[in-house]
Symmetry: C2
Subunit: 139 residues, 2 copies
C-alpha cells in the first residue's frame, strides 16, 4: 500500500515547529483551509464542537496563541475583553463594524501613510495597524 502524503495542515504545523497533534491538526484545518477569517476562541471552540472534534476551550486558547507565535495567525485587538485571530498574516488593515462586532480586511497594497514620526530610540516598529471604526450610516 502506498503511504499517504501527510495532509497539508500537518505539513504546515511541522514547518512551524509544532507537533501535529490531533487537535492542532483539526483546528488548523478549520482555520487555515477556510480563507480569510476573524475568529474568537469561543467561536472556534464552537466550530470544533459542531465538527465533532473534541477539544477543550483551554486547548483552543493555547493553540491559538501557539499558532500566533508561530506566525500562522495574527491577533487583532479592537474590543475590550475579546481577542480576534486573523488567518490572514500578510500585511493588511481592518474595518471594524462596531455595531456588528465584525472585522473586515482592508488589503495592504496601495495604502500609503506619510508623516509618521520615527519610533522612540531603543525601539523599532513591529507592526503598523490601521483600524477604521465604522458605525451605522446616519443619512
Amino acid at each position: 500500500m502506498k503511504p499517504e502524503a501527510p495532509p497539508k495542515a500537518v505539513l504546515r504545523l511541522r514547518e512551524a515547529g509544532l507537533r501535529p497533534t490531533r487537535q492542532r491538526v483539526a483546528l488548523a484545518r478549520l482555520l487555515l483551509e477556510n480563507g480569510g477569517r476573524h475568529i474568537t476562541a469561543e467561536q472556534l471552540h464552537g466550530e470544533a464542537r459542531a465538527a465533532a472534534i473534541r477539544v477543550s476551550l483551554a486547548t483552543v486558547y493555547n493553540t491559538l496563541h501557539q499558532f500566533t507565535g508561530a506566525g500562522l495567525l495574527r491577533e487583532v485587538v479592537v474590543e475590550p475583553g475579546r481577542s480576534y485571530f486573523d488567518t490572514n498574516t500578510t500585511e493588511h488593515h481592518h474595518f471594524f463594524d462596531e455595531a456588528k462586532s465584525e472585522l473586515l480586511d482592508i488589503g495592504g497594497d496601495g495604502i500609503v501613510i506619510s508623516g509618521l514620526p520615527r519610533p522612540p530610540s531603543g525601539t523599532e516598529v513591529r507592526r503598523l495597524e490601521i483600524i477604521v471604526r465604522l458605525g451605522p450610516d446616519r443619512h
Copy 2:
C-alpha cells in the same frame, strides 16, 4: 465674602452634562489637569487612593465610561483584557510599546493616508486609528 468661582473641573463636568459630584470632580482633576495621559482604571484608582480620595473601583470604571461618553476621554484598546483611557481627545494616533505596555501619542497633524477603500454601504467611518506597535530595537 466673595463667592468662589467654580473650579475648572466643575465647569467641564457641567458643560458635559454630568453632575459634579465629589468623586467625579476629583477624578476629573487627576485626569484633565495633568496633560496627555493614558491610564487604566486600576491606575487611576491607585492615584486616587494615593491622593487620599475615597472612590471605589466600580465608580472609577463608571466614571471613565461616563467621561468617554461625554467626549472628555477616549478609550484606546491595544491589549487584550485591558482598556486605556486617553485624555487627549483630538485627532491623533499611537505608538504602543509592547515591552513596556506603554502608549505614546502621535500628533494627528501632517499624517496622510491614501489608498483606503470606502466603507461598506450602510456604514460610515466613526474614527480612524493608527497603532504603531513597537518592540525592543534588535541592532
